[in-house]
Amino acid sequence: MPSIVDGTTIPLLEKIAVFGERRNTVLAANVANIDTPNYHRRDLPVEDFERALREAIHGGTARNTQASADPAGLAPELLQAREVASPSLTFQDNSNRSIEREMMEMTKNLSMQSFAITLLTTQMSMLQAAIREQV
């Protein structure tokens, strides 16, 4: 379905923002369970997401992809949290949690999300200014 925002970077930024928001919840769950025994840290597949983004950008017009119910066009498997083995100190119950690592990941995720949302907002207002013919 052609959309008025095609040809801008808005669809790309939207996908990044949606992914970032879901990842924020998973990381918040990690922080909440920092003292829960036998809890293993979970995360969304970041490398897969970045690789899929790159393919979508370069593939561009020629590709027809599988349909997905998500309006932002992200397949559900990218939003599936999995348990991740991350390098960390080991505890008595062989879990791999470290509050510093979780806070670092959350901060990085937040920066990426703020960046994407700010760019998205700017692009939207540029488009609006063009339509209204008024800056």
């Binding site: 924020n24 918040a28 922080v31 909440a32 369970n33 920092i34 979970r42 806070m103």
Partner: protein, 136 residues
Amino acid sequence: MFTPIDVSTTALIAERQRMNTIADNLANVNTTRNADGKASAFQRRFVTFAAAHMEGAPSEMDGVTYEIHVDTTTPPRRVFQPGHPDADKEGYVSFPNIDYMTEFVNAMDASRAYQANLVAIDMAKQIDNLSLKILA
């Protein structure tokens, strides 16, 4: 839509309860009688955490629940004080099985976990505020 804040709130509640339990233990570190006035050493309470499913959220995003347990396995401290009103036949008084260092370390742990979850809530609020500007 507000799931990250809910998840962090469950952690705040659980850690707060942990702090309360620790404060309770420290207040009763020398209590040798129970509420009925009989000679019975106060038993240490502790809190265990478990991951809890949040309703309305996908199953990967778990919050925390807590349970309060009474520590019945650690034996009480027995001190030889024959003149004490709660001394038993051999002159030993049973003091609670509470160790200052353990409680302090647990308190520090709970406090930093509480602060980390506060920061997580603040981050979620920041993103919400930022994304509201999309419409403006």
